[in-house]
């Protein structure tokens, strides 16, 4: 039984082995070799890959670089086949990988390195921020991207000359490109001004780029007051003028910087006026008070700088004034209100009349003077006859007329 099985299996196995071995030699017939041995090119140089092959059917070359991939069909001459890599692949620097496929099978692989061409270098540069602060701590960064005329970054380590100018100094730094770019931080100087930069690579220059160096934050300063007279006439303007406000590096601060002027009066109430600087000087204005007053003035740039405090005294202009009751006390003429040289006060001087009846305020009438005079009329249609308390205020002087009788 065993013998019998062996006898059947043996011829069968023999047939299988023979058929397999007879098949293998057919497959090994394909023979392809790369003829082109060059693997380094410069950009735009023609790349032609030549192969010898005993088969010309179903052969394709697959190409791939960092931008894209493509499949090329061969040109066939006798027993050699060649592939021409298209222009848009040869223009780009970097690694170009290829693989040859025959009947959809990968048979050969290779790599080509394309280096930047020596054509004219184009220098692209970016510089920012566009403005920085003086003092040496703030900086603008110049980033330079030199490239060949096909927009390929130049070779790693290509020297880039970075120039910058500030006032009378012009400095050059030589920075080799690294990771496709060259860059430099340009720090501000102590003075304010303007930094101009450019970058040179292979004798090509970038555009001129600039950053403004603005003055740094202001430091404490001084103020003084200026006025035409020291009378509290309510119709004159006092000026508060700062010294030239500078930063710690002695730069005059930017025009337009707002300076707040705080004025404390005798009641410790804060009054305010504002001004912006020109050439570091701010000149604020304030209307004179209309009564005796002492102002303590100081100026601040909030959070950064402040000035000394200046004390200003304003003298009372109104010493006294006449009040005349006519028309059964119903017309009250006030004045003449005289100023410091006995001239009538300027028009618009405020006179207040507080009218009380039975200790309660009925009405406050405010009038402004005209040629030093003003008048209150208490019409009998509105103020019935009776006893009133009248209090008249003007220029810090208060006059009381108690128990004034208004008649029909």
């Amino acid at each position: 039984m065993k013998l019998k099985l062996y006898h059947i299996l043996f011829p069968f196995l023999l047939i299988v082995i023979l058929s397999v071995t007879s098949y293998i030699p057919k497959k090994t017939e394909l023979k392809i070799d790369l003829i082109t041995k060059k693997t380094a090119y410069t950009a735009t140089q023609t790349i032609e890959l030549k192969f010898t092959s005993n088969q010309t059917e179903k052969i394709y070359l697959y190409c791939n670089n960092s931008y894209s991939s493509t499949i090329l069909t061969p040109e066939i001459k006798n027993d050699s086949i060649s592939f021409t890599v298209p222009n848009h692949f040869t223009k780009k620097t970097g690694l170009l990988k290829w693989s040859l496929t025959v009947s959809s099978k990968n048979v050969l692989n290779g790599e080509i390195i394309i280096t930047p061409s020596n054509s004219k270098t184009h220098v692209e540069a970016y510089f920012g921020p566009r403005s920085i602060l003086a003092g040496g701590k703030d900086l603008s960064m110049l980033v330079v991207v030199p490239s060949d005329s096909y927009d390929n970054p130049v070779k790693e380590g290509t020297k880039v000359f970075i120039n910058h100018q500030f006032l009378s100094t012009i400095k050059t730094d030589i920075i080799p490109t690294e990771n496709l770019i060259a860059w430099k931080n340009i720090f501000s100087y102590k003075p304010s001004g303007r930094i101009l930069v450019n970058a040179l690579c292979n004798n090509s220059s970038s555009k001129e780029l600039t950053t403004i160096v603005y003055p740094n934050n202001p430091v404490n300063f001084k103020i003084e007051a200026q006025r035409d007279h020291d009378f509290a006439d309510g119709n004159q303007v006092s000026y508060f003028i700062t010294s030239t406000i500078k930063d710690q590096y002695n730069n005059i601060i930017s025009d337009g910087t707002l300076v707040e002027f705080n004025i404390k009066n005798k009641q410790n109430i804060l009054l305010k006026t504002y001004s912006t600087t020109i050439n570091g000087v701010a000149k604020a204005k304030m209307l004179h008070p209309d009564h005796e007053e002492t102002w303590k003035v100081n100026a601040v740039v909030p959070g950064m700088a402040e000035s000394n405090t200046v004390q200003l005294k304003y003298k009372q202009v109104l010493k006294d004034f006449d009040i005349e009751f006519t028309n059964k006390n119903r017309t009250i003429n006030v004045g003449i209100l005289t100023s410091f040289m006995d001239q009538p006060v300027a028009d618009g001087f405020i006179v207040k009349l507080n009218l009380y009846k039975n200790d309660s305020l009925i009405e406050t009438k405010i009038k402004t003077s005209y040629e030093g005079m003003t008048a209150f009329k208490l019409s009998k249609d509105f103020y019935e006859s009776g006893v009133y308390n009248l209090i008249i205020e003007s220029g810090g002087i208060t006059k009381e007329f108690l128990n004034t009788k208004l008649d029909e």
């Binding site: 707002l258 804060l270 008070p289 402004t368 249609d381």
Partner: protein, 1029 residues
Amino acid sequence: MDKKTNKYLISALLIGVAYHSTAIFFTLEYTYDALIHLFFANHYANSWFEPWNYSWYTGFTVMSYPPLVHQGIGLLSYIGGLKFGMFTVAIIATILYITGVYRFSLLITSSRKAAGYAALIATFSSSFAETLHLFGQLPSIIGISILMHSLPEIYLWLKTGQYKYFFTCLSLISVTVTSHHVTPIFGMIFFIFPLIGMVVMDASRERVNSMKEVTFKVFLSTFFSLFKRIIGFGLSSLLIIIFCILPYWVNTKKNPITQVPIPHGSRDNFLEVTSSGLVFFVIPWGIIMFFLPYIIYRFYSKRYLFFGISFSMLTILGTGGTTPLPKMLLGDTAFNILTLDRFTLWASIMALPIFGEFIYRFTEGDLKQLIQQKYGAITHRISGGILAGMFLFTTVFTMSLSYFRPSQPQKIKMLPIINFLNQDQHDHWRYLTLGFGDQIAWLAAQTKAMSVDGNYHSARRLPELTTRAVERLENSKFRGIEGLGSLQQFLTVPEKYNLKYIFSNDKFYDPLLYFAGWQRLRQLENGIMVWERLGIPPLSSILPKKDVPRFLKIMWGIIPVSTVLIAFFLNIQLMWYRTLKLKVKSLPVYLKFQNNYNTFSNKVLIISNIWIVFMFVVISYGMYYFYIKNNTQLTAQNVIEAYFDAIDFKEFERAHSYVDPKSNVPIAQYMLEISVTDGLLSSYAKLDAIKVELKNKTKNKAKAIIYTEWITPIERASKMYIYEVVKRGSKWYVKLPNYDLDIPPDQLFSDNTTYYLNHGRRRITTQQTSHEDVLKQPILEVLSAKLVKNGKSYSVIGEIQNVDNVPADIILKATLYNDDDKKLANYNAKYLVKHKLMPKETSNFRINFEGIAWSKTKDSIPKTFNPDEFTPTELEEQPTKFNLHCEGNVANTDLYKLISINDLKHNKTHISGNLFNTGIQEVTIPELIISYYNENKELIWVDNHFIKEGIRQQRRQFFNVSLSNLDSLNVVNDDKTFSFINGLPNEDIAKKVVPNRIIGHENKDLIPIKANTFSFIKIETNNYIGNPN
């Protein structure tokens, strides 16, 4: 019946076309609606099959309005431009209307002469003139005209059962529905139902010997015999209505109109709002009003009974809010959605056949004989003359109403605006127009730039618009609180809508724009001021849209025009041949039912006469009442009201005529005193309410305490005045109060200022701005920021400083989060910040979280007007954290800071003092920003106060401000870690730019006030300059 051409119809057509087509060139562009239709037409002309339109409301679909008229204009625009298309369609509408009235009248009266007269009257009818020349409702006119054309066909189908009539009437109904959707729906009820009634009545009449024998029983049995045809017609027309504008119905279903109803004059009580009464009642009725008894008498005869009922319903519905009946008939919802003027229009059109009949009988029929018999021939002629005169008067008055009371601003030259939008990629942002009226549609039709606004309110999509009764933002001042409230939200958070440019034709809005952070760019050569907001991102290149299936687009593009073509082929021979009698045809059956025009009822004549006399009495009383109400100096009260009215309308000469002649103020002096006052109240306010309280009144004198309420763009302002009034002779006069006699210190003075200019891009190029031309954003620093809760609403307050060396325009945006970092709300700073900061300037700010007003509480919309009304956002959860994004952009305008604070006095509740203008610009509206600090000088609250009067140079302005009550205030979070400047953390910037900051320096000097809830205050000023020198 003669077969000759109807000379009345021919003359009506000739006169009508000549008259209306000449007039439309002067009226149509100034109407409310015409330009909207033009805009839609432009849409179809450019993209016939694509219903999505990006130009308005951040995108909307034109499937929200039946397209036929728009597509018609669009097609014609290929020949001679959009306006050519519009005028041509208007002329076609006129022809259709006149012929339609003729056919309808012929159907009703069965008299060619009466119908001819009706056509003539229709030509001059005031309701038509108003609809076309004042409202510009082209689709509505075409809809009703075609409907009138379809009525005889419907009659013939129902009466004869011939299928050709079935198809002709359905073809006409399909044209009606594609031009105006409301017309066939209501037309069914008000025109076709009574017509069916009349057909049944006529058929019943044929069964018996006389009209008297037509009993209800006969009527009912006839009705059932015709029932199949009626149902057949009813169902097929319903199908037609649904099918022809199926995309419209689909769209309505998908995007139901959920908006708050917009107030419309036609819903007013016409006795209270007389202007609405004039426009929506008196004018459309016109002369027909005088002949109502005759019309009602005729309509309630047995044959027309159903028309009578329909006519009465229309008349009642047209009275709007005058009687409660329309609201009861329609129900609240329909009453608030429908505009009721259309009912009056239809009623007046329905009255035309009968009125035509009346005129026929008056001019050459039995009425003429009766009058001549009774009163003599002269009376007849004179009354004829009066009738014609009144008729012409109403027509001419209607046509020229827009001349006397312009409904639109002056025509604006659009070219400079279009050029501006095309320039420099300005159309990459959205724009908004203010004070353009309906001309915004014309602008939108000409530019590819997009607007957040629009003029077709049914298509509004943004909740900011739909939750309020705001037709459009453009005229928001007329919509009071809701209008300005909506507008403010758009202006405060413009980046949400990519809104960068505003074209303002109305300086009323200027303060609102300024205080919301906008700046003037320049004035275009047509006088339009361009406002701009800095730091707004441009629109993305792909915008969202709601797409619809392709078959709907194809239906929408093809069906409407096809309906016209089909109707044209089906009807042309019938309509043309019959009306113009080019070919002899058999008489239509309705001409059998002729009326007897031999004996005019004497009773009717008498009643008519009484009615006419009554009408004259009513008119005379109205005039007398008008006179009394306007007699301005009859009482002390009247003169005060008249004086303020004159001031409000800037009619200073009239105002001066109310001034006490004995006060010796000549007009020249008065004008001088008035002209020097500028400010919120005198330049940007409208008097809203006035209450006069007279005190100490004697026979000849009184003291008036006048409480006035003013609408201003930024807030509702109230001011109290005390005036004395005197009586001289029989008239009352106002005594002028004293004005400030203050004279400025210097005659001539100088001031030095720093000016800034930003070139934008330095190279002229269509490319993107080069990176070298992009300025660095100014650096800001947040000095403090807190989340506080005051009462029920949350706010973020704080202090910010421009630490850069250039002036900055700042945008502050705060976002609230809860403990789980869930975003709850965000909003921008509106009025409570100085939007423009000089280098190193600080500003305190408060950001309120404004919700979309009344989105939840629709019923409680206040009736009074307050633009500054604040609706806090409804937060789902408790906010506990916040972040603050600050953005700076280089500013170069509105940098005036020269206001000093003088002479302060205060108690616990008030602070008063005066502001003195030290510089050379007149400040139009000064704003005080008042900050409150606790005893540790920590900021706890920020508030503001607009001063009502301006400050002239070197002058002072007094103020008295009540201080806030901070009882219910508490600070929720004072961690400013999450503050960002131009996208970078505030802390990092602060360390780098101001490393040696003097901490608390900005709060070192404050005004101490001993109040219960705060210890110090600080006052800052923000100055709006209306007219920079």
